[in-house]
Amino acid sequence: MDFLQPSSWHEALAIRAERPDALPIAGGTDVMVELNFDRRRPGALLDLTRVGELREWSVEDGGRVRLGAGVPYARVIGELGDRLPGLAMAARTVGSPQIRVRGTVGGNLGSASPAGDAHPPLLAAGAEVEVASAARGTRRVPVADYFTGVKRNVLEPDELIAAVLVPTAAGPQQFCKVGTRNAMVISVSAFALALHPDRQAVGTGIGSAAPTPRCAPEAEEFLAGELDWAARRPLPEGLARAFGERVAAAAAPIDDVRGTAAYRRHSLAVLARRAVTWAWDDLRRAA
């Protein structure tokens, strides 16, 4: 197996186009597991860790964070907790310290697992994935359109993920993840919430409860319409619960070895109810 190590983004895209049999590898925390279990036998590995551009983040005009695909979770936690609190909370739940030092948001998107923990907060924040190819240049895909099936995404064979563009939080964000132990666990269900008081909107993201990560648009609209954005008075009786039920209704979970469909739905309702309560309290305190 060849090990290809481009040192620039340009070179990486060129190799990607030339070697369709080369599997990109960033932190390797998914790729190495696949190789060890003999689930994949790629002709080559395309190592992206020498591509400096991927390992940087910056703030764009308009206040969006451009997060390089190769920035590991540990840095998201350490450097972006204020701008991207939802993503940082999710990053904190990923694996163990070792995994958080290696694993990247780009890799999470590359794997596109329904259980990927970065996905719900990116959905809730309304992020875009920036992908690129040598032949066609760059395109930006809203994260809600990015996932196409279980562990599948919109990437063409010659494309790589360059970055993810995440609006800086304008209001409180929450991320909650249920697992059957208290650390190092793949989520049984996960929920992300972002309040956007600037545009009086609500963002959501559901993990591990459908073939792909997904939003709960109906729940978002319902909540955005019911919240007292102007006076920020306490949540009316029953609103959080009604929101939770709508979030649960948006899921399409299955029974598997990690949990049952019924429990996944139930837990989403609880998580969404709690998350909105905390987020709204935060917003009121901030006022």
Binding site: N36, F37, D38, M89, R92, T93, Q174, F175, C176, K177, V178, G179, T180, R181, N182, A183, M184, V185, I186, S187, V188, V257, R258, G259, T260, A262, Y263, R265, H266, S267, V270, L271, R274, W278
Partner: protein
């Protein structure tokens, strides 16, 4: 001769926290585990396993696999020269499946190649033509008339009846329940590994991680058709065992490949193969009933225990023995009716695991004790104290307990320990769900639960349980050195340390070398049943005493006085007052004094086949746990806040090691209560990896308070009592009880899953 007083006694004797001789190597990652075995010019062996729980093998075509460059051998059942059968109690398990496969993961063929990856790819090219057969996967159907037979002769492995007292008892208070326990894995960190080296005499030397070298040797010889002299085993570095290495794994396979290729052959499982490559803890289905007086005093107990043995016998019969003979817990019960069954199914084979039949039963009898407490209106501690065994009581098999049985005291001690502070929500890591950020205190209820157990130590029911130790004392470069040689498997528990401590104590020397365990010395029995400190410790002590007697007799002759009053200390012969009479260097010169002793504990006896009555056990060990849990009752997530325990260990030969056993065992029991389960559906293992077979992490395991009691057993060497298993038995039921208290649901199955707590 001048006399001088000796200084301080030798450090590192029994009762001291002597350091492990392999401790530094293990902590720095330099210890050679079996998976590190290496030999120049070795080849790698891999196993092809059945994908079906039950199928007939019509044909195996190995031609394509053999044609892969780098492959040196492909073997099937036809290549087994001896008997194609092995097993701990019954040789019913083929080395390689011949005509039928009986569980998913059963070995069918072997490949040797110059690289493990080559061997794996070649194995994938072996064409096995299977005719899939209906599988029996529900143990409750195993004894039905129309159930498919897993082996000719029926699906019953063992039925044990225990009957005592009134055959038709009645009582004013009756409580009953059904309980189910899932399949737990030993999950030792070092997967199965071994290296077989063909020898010039036509035999083979096998280096392997195991629990009992001699019982392995017997089975390997049978399969290879060779005498014991030609099959020599040496213990390789063992990364945990917990019962999962009692049955053979790579042993015969590696030897077959080595003898065929004439090359050293290494085999080393990955984690997924390990899940298929060893037996698990038996899943259990149980029905229990207690009858009691209005004050809670037990009048009778009934129990029906069904253990799923899977496809082969392994140690199912002995596990049934334990579940039947000990499965009512450490209580005084005048009338008893227990039926314990072990059955064959096409599920993965089950066998030995820490706690051995008592673990499953304890979940049922402890849950029922809490029911009884509630029914008569006393506390869980009181009900157990009221009924708890005491020294001199008879067990349910009529055996008199002839050393300490401090059930009431153990409970009193755990109940008296300070409770943890109330829920503290400022750090998510203290909450159920931890950094998953699932609660900030909402829905969290605290529960406290208690459990107590007793467990037999050593082999029971008349088994000839012994160990062999060879001890040599000689002077090397002016310093006395004791060498201890046994075949006892150090699996991480610290037996090597204890052997050194015993030799220092008995021989008064500082330097003790424990040489590698192998089959050139007699059997030490298994590293299981909490028995090695007792039995091999007993053998080492006896061998040391024999050496000491010989040395002191020499000293008496040399000194021209009586033996009486002489002792060994600090490399010297000393008199009754501690005065130095002779140095060992002068006394022994170049001579070595060596003694080999085969040592047995008191005999045990088979039980009556109709009533299960008899003196089946040599010793009982008792422990109690108190668990404190915070449960998010809306999400069903659990945080164990405290898991405190008291245990009688007779005598703590190495107090740190004792506490280590108690902590590890408690974590393992908690794991079964909350998360550890091999999920088997239609005979297929659904989660053969640590991604989905969840073990407790540091955030799941609370700090523990451990109180160690030392009521010496007058019948045991130094008064020791087995330590390793009781914590695994009483911790889980205490955790389960605490979760029940917190959420108010009956929870009649473990592991408790979130959806059981929430009822969704």
């Amino acid at each position: 001769m001048t006399t001088t007083q000796t200084g301080a006694r030798t450090a590192g004797r029994i009762g001291d926290n002597a350091q492990r001789p392999d401790g530094t190597l293990k902590v720095t990652g330099e210890f050679a585990y079996a998976s590190d075995l290496w030999h120049d010019d070795m080849v790698w062996g891999v196993t092809l396993r059945s994908p079906h729980p039950h199928a007939r093998i019509r044909r195996i075509d190995v031609a394509e696999a053999l044609a892969v460059p780098g492959v040196s051998a492909v073997l099937t059942a036809d290549d087994v020269p001896g008997e194609n059968a092995y097993g701990l109690e019954h040789a019913d398990q083929p080395v390689l499946a011949a005509d039928v496969v009986r569980y998913e993961g059963e070995p069918v063929a072997l490949v040797a190649a110059d690289h493990p990856e080559t061997a794996r790819r070649a194995a994938a090219r072996i064409r096995v033509d299977y005719e899939v057969l209906p599988a029996l996967t529900d143990p409750r159907r195993a004894l039905d008339d129309d159930a498919p037979e897993v082996h000719p002769g029926g699906n019953l492995v063992r039925h044990l009846r225990v009957r005592r007292g009134d055959p038709a008892p009645t009582a004013p208070v009756v409580v009953s329940l059904d309980f189910e326990v899932g399949m737990q894995d030993q999950a030792f960190l070092g997967p199965e590994s071994g290296l077989a080296v063909p020898a010039e005499d036509g035999g083979v030397d096998l280096y392997v991680a195991t629990q009992w070298l001699h019982v392995d040797q017997r089975q390997v010889c049978l399969a290879l058709g060779m005498p014991p002299g030609k099959v020599r085993l040496t213990l390789a570095g063992v990364g945990g065992a917990f019962g999962g290495r009692e049955d053979l794994s790579v042993h015969v396979h590696a030897c077959l490949l080595a003898l065929r290729t004439g090359r050293p052959v290494k085999m080393s499982y990955g984690r997924e193969e390990s899940f298929h490559g060893h037996v698990h803890r038996h899943p259990a289905t149980m029905t229990y009933e207690f009858g009691a007086e209005r004050d809670g005093t037990l009048v009778y107990a009934r129990a029906d225990v069904l253990l799923d043995g899977g496809a082969y016998a392994s140690s199912t019969a002995a596990v049934v023995g334990n579940a039947g003979l000990l499965g009512l817990g450490p209580y005084r019960i005048p009338s008893v009716a227990v039926d314990a069954y072990g059955v064959f199914t096409h599920n993965p084979p089950c066998g030995a695991m820490r706690g051995f039949g008592c673990v499953q039963a304890a979940f049922a009898h402890e849950a029922l004790m809490d029911e009884l407490a509630a029914a008569v209106g006393v506390s869980p501690v009181e009900i157990r104290q009221r009924n708890g065994m005491r020294e001199g009581d008879r067990t349910t098999t009529g055996q008199v307990i002839d050393s300490a049985a401090p059930v009431a005291e153990l409970l009193e001690r755990v109940a008296a320990m300070p409770l943890p502070p109330p829920l503290e929500t400022s750090d998510l890591r203290n909450l159920p769900g931890a950094v998953g950020n699932t609660t900030h205190g909402e829905g969290v209820r605290r529960g406290v639960g208690y459990a107590v157990t007793y467990k037999n130590v050593g082999f029971s029911e008349g088994f000839d349980d012994y160990s062999t130790a060879r001890v040599r004392l000689q002077v090397v470069a002016g310093e006395a050195v004791a060498t201890v040689h046994t075949a006892a498997a150090e699996v991480g528990q610290g037996l090597v340390t204890v052997q050194q401590q015993i030799a220092r104590t008995e021989l008064g020397v500082e330097r003790v070398v424990v040489v590698p365990a192998d089959t050139t010395v007699g059997s030490a029995g298994s590293t299981s049943a909490s028995r090695q400190t007792y039995v091999t410790g007993g053998a080492v002590k006896a061998a040391c005493e024999a050496v000491r007697t010989a040395v002191l007799q020499r000293a008496a002759v040399a000194l021209g006085g009586p033996v009486a009053g002489l002792a060994l200390d600090g490399d010297k012969v000393v008199g009754a007052g501690g005065e130095v009479l002779a140095g060992l260097a002068d006394l022994l010169g170049d001579d070595a004094v060596e003694e080999t002793v085969e040592w047995r504990h008191r005999p045990t006896h088979a039980v009556d086949p109709e009533t299960g009555q008899g003196d089946a056990h040599v010793q009982f060990a008792f422990s109690a746990h108190r668990a404190v849990v915070d449960v998010d009752v809306e999400l069903g997530l659990v945080k164990v806040v405290a898991l405190d325990t008291a245990q009688d260990v007779g005598r703590a030969l190495n107090p740190d090691a004792v506490v280590g056993q108690i902590q590890g065992g408690s974590a393992q029991g908690m794991g079964l209560a909350l998360m550890e389960e091999v999920v088997v559906a239609d005979g297929h293992v659904r989660n053969p990896s640590f991604t989905d077979y969840l073990l407790p992490t540091i955030l799941d395991m609370p700090p523990m308070r451990v109180e160690v009691l030392e009521y010496a057993d007058p019948h045991a060497p130094y008064g020791v009592r087995g330590v390793g298993e009781p914590p695994t038995i009483s911790s889980g039921p205490a955790v389960a009880a605490a979760v029940r208290v917190a959420c108010g649901r009956p929870l009649r199955r473990v592991p408790i899953r979130p959806e059981h707590v929430t009822g969704t």
